[in-house]
Amino acid sequence: MQMEKHLKVSAIKNGTVLDHIPAEQLFKVIDILGLSCISNQITFGTNLDSKLLGKKAIIKISDRYFESDEINRIALIAPQAKINIIQNFKVVEKRVLSIPSSIKGIAKCMNPVCVTNHQPIETLFTTITDENELKLLCHYCEKITDKENLKIISNN
């Protein structure tokens, strides 16, 4: 058991392991981080058992490290994700995500008459945590997009 867990998290020599991603958000995380356009070796597993999430996914990226700003963008859809920095097969640093105060260009505004849905404009939101639920306040139309209506804009 201990051995299996060990392998799941750190079977890359150097790089970043993203753990505790909700299984259904795996491909959105790949999208937000632009992982489909980089040449690094990437392995991922999904529908793994998790006490915390039921089914979780895990992504291991060789020789790639993320700035906080960059990685925090996935807090929108995978707030409980854990970031493990791997060097020489060992976890040298564990990081948790913090929700950024503003989100640029990842999410779509749910308001159909928002200017960002009709003109070539990058979306911009202020994040609001209301009763433990993350909501996005549109900088332009001033309407709130909640988690249920959250749509991610593809990076590709």
Partner: protein
């Protein structure tokens, strides 16, 4: 200090009071051609005769020249020109832009592109801050103050942007609110949350006769047919939210009725001659308030 007026939330309490004070000055002396060297662009991507005439009168009274269009029908906009390109072009000619556009957030976007100040003259159902400032001016003028008033807002509290902006602006002044609306058009939760966070008292009712005698301000709004999916429901609600003179019997002497106009059925014609009716004067206050806004953004 604000360079644009996009949302009423962009103005601090002090800035709001400053505009109201300047508006009072312009009411005393409405012809002050202090901006003879300025050009104001009035660009209306959808028609709104009332707002456009009010802004253009304000600009003219300040001595500025006005250019622009009154609906996008015969401009390059209909040929698919982006807001960005239109704003870039217009800001080459004008020193200030007054803009009306059906898309929500369009004015904020324009202000980020434009090198000259932008005034939002309405972006969809989002914001219409000059309307809010003229409402505040009317309230202050009729009540002699803005603090500690009982404000009864009636009608479409769900979609009515004037209601939402006014409640945000009044929140600086410790009001008590009564929200009178049919079930379908109740004030959205986000605004109730906004008030709770600021410890502002409010109650809700569906009955128009409930709060008239306590009110200092009765703020009526139009109940629009297009807001209803059910036509029968509209017919029912339309008649329930119609104010007539006999309902004003117990009203406080200082109580004034405001309405952003145009009205349809919400206020019966027999109210017009009542001392409580203020909606026509309210519209006139719009010119002074807009003169004050233009002056503030130019200085």
């Amino acid at each position: 200090m604000s360079r644009n007026l996009i949302s009423i939330q962009d103005f601090s309490k002090e800035e709001i009071l400053e505009v109201l004070k300047m508006a009072a000055g312009f009411e005393k002396n409405p012809s002050q051609p202090i901006f003879r060297d300025k050009v104001v662009a009035s660009i209306f991507f959808e028609p709104s005769t009332r707002t456009r005439l009010s802004f253009e009168t304000a600009a003219n009274r300040l001595g500025a020249r006005v250019i622009g269009f009154s609906d996008a029908g015969n401009t390059s906009v209909t040929k698919g020109e982006t807001i960005k390109d239109t704003i870039k072009m217009v800001s080459n000619y004008a020193d200030l832009i007054v803009m009306r556009h059906p898309l929500e957030g369009s004015a904020r976007y324009a202000s980020e592109i434009s090198p000259v100040p932008v005034i939002n003259a309405g972006d969809g159902s989002n914001q219409h801050p000059s309307q809010t400032l003229l409402d505040l001016y009317s309230i202050q003028k009729t009540q002699g103050r803005l603090d500690n008033l009982f404000i009864n807002m009636v009608g479409d509290l769900k979609y009515g942007r004037t209601v939402h902006s006014l409640l945000q602006a009044m929140s600086h002044f410790n009001p008590t609110f009564l929200f009178t609306a049919p079930e379908e058009l109740k004030l959205p939760n986000e605004y109730k949350e906004y008030l709770r966070k600021r410890n502002i008292r409010f109650e809700e009712t569906r009955n128009l006769s409930d709060g008239i005698c306590q009110s200092d301000i009765l703020y009526m709004t139009r109940v629009q047919r297009e807001r209803f999916t059910d036509a029968i429901e509209y017919e029912r609600v339309k008649n329930v939210y119609s104010l007539n003179n006999s309902m004003l019997d117990g009203a406080k002497p200082n109580m004034k009725i405001l309405h952003p106009l145009p009205r349809v059925n919400e206020i019966a014609l027999d109210v017009d001659n009542s001392d409580h009716a203020y909606y026509f004067d309210q519209a006139k206050n719009g010119v002074y308030t807009r003169m004050a806004i233009i002056t503030k953004l130019f200085s």
